[in-house]
Amino acid sequence: MHIAAQETDDVLLKRSAKGDEDAFTQLYWRNQAQIYRFALRMTGRAWAAEEIVQDVFMTLVREPKKYDAARGPLGAFLYGIARNRVMKHLERQPREFSFEQKNAEGDAKAIEAADNHTPAHWAEVRERRERVRSAVLSLPPEFRETVVLCELEEMSYEEAAQVLECPIGTVRSRLHRGRALLLAKLEILREAPKRANASR
């Protein structure tokens, strides 16, 4: 069955609720990537992100009537479910940070493009990226999700406020506070190897 690209998520969801599998697949492909990225960036684990994506869409299969179009777009609704699942995951494993770099099929991904930089340069880039990643993952969840949505997902304050179901001012202040915390953590992470070397 051909599904026109301009059909809205609402229409697709109605058709999906009536048993149209193509409509459900279309919905999945429209929304899965952003939910997966959000979950991956929040949890730092590919397997957790997969579980969360599965849970989110399972909810859509089992209880499509939970979505109320009057309260906002379907994307925001899915983000809401994903946030709940992420919070549950973080409550279970609050201290585990491991940002696995995997592609869609679960294989290690070659992230550096071949160019004329030296291995030392790439080692430094990797180290800096790892520090930022660890700093993001160590933020308290409410600041982390704001940083993830506004900085990594590059959402506007309005979009982030809709997803987080809070006023724009709250998003702005959380982002401000999140950045300050990140800077402090990065400073600590930057100083840690130096202190370790000095103590030897």
Binding site: E21, T25, R37, R41, E50, V53, Q54, A104, R129
Partner: protein, 236 residues
């Protein structure tokens, strides 16, 4: 612009690329080394975060998740369909049972009415057999002690036959009656429920089936009713 205003308005902006609206922030940046250092750190952080974001911007859920979800979707909707069919079948069965019950009850009720009529018929018909047909047709004075048809009580009046005058012009022959037997017949006046007329193959209004009416039966010598006559009051 002071440091606080700068922190609120200019820290998360790209002031180098910004337009004239950021001129005050840029001015403050040149004048305040603390804010300049903070801005530089913030700029580096934004760049790092952007880089981190780009690292995973192509990430998407593996195809096995889609497979699992589609499987679950099929199972879910198959189960729903099964539930719907079961529900429909259940209700259909219940409706069919109710209809069957109603039909049985209506039939039973009709049979019951006919049975009552039949039960009343023989009571009335046996009476002439006990008396001679000639005696029954003979008009006796009401005060005579030998009169067998004289009613003692209203109840007996209903069970005992009343002998009517023999004017066979208005009699309607009953189905299966033999016309030749009419000479030896007796006219018997009985009281029965209108519904009992159905047993003689006559149309009966169901609304008035329970009314009691007087009917003249033309009974042959063998005791079988051959024809009947409805008095004017009963035929209305």
């Amino acid at each position: 612009m002071n440091c606080e205003e700068f922190a609120n308005a200019g820290l998360d902006r790209n002031l180098e690329a910004g337009g004239p609206e950021f001129a005050a922030a840029r001015e403050h940046l040149r004048a305040c080394p603390d804010c300049a250092a903070l801005y530089e750190t913030s700029r580096v952080l934004r760049a790092d975060l952007r880089e981190l974001g780009q690292e995973t911007c192509e990430a998407s859920a593996p195809s096995r998740i889609e497979m699992r979800l589609r499987q679950e979707f099929r199972t879910q909707h198959k189960t729903l369909r099964t539930h719907r069919v079961t529900w429909l079948a259940g209700w259909s069965l219940a409706a069919a049972s109710i209809i069957a019950g109603a039909v049985v009850w209506v039939n039973w009720n009709r049979e019951n009415t006919v049975e009552v009529a039949n039960r009343m018929g023989p009571t009335v018909q046996t009476a002439p057999r006990s008396n001679s047909p000639r005696e029954a047709t003979t008009e006796k004075p009401p005060g005579s002690p030998a009169s067998p048809a004289r009613p003692q009580t209203p109840r007996k009046e209903r069970t005992q036959p009343l002998v009517a005058s023999k004017t066979s012009d208005e009699f309607t022959p009953l189905p299966g009656s033999v016309p030749g037997f009419l000479d030896d017949s007796t006219i018997v006046r009985v009281q029965l429920q209108r519904g009992a007329l159905g047993a003689f193959g006559l149309p009966v209004s169901e609304e008035r089936a329970s009314d009691w009416i007087q009917v003249d039966l033309l009974v042959a010598a063998d005791g079988q009713p051959q024809a009947l006559r409805l008095p004017q009051s009963a035929s209305n």
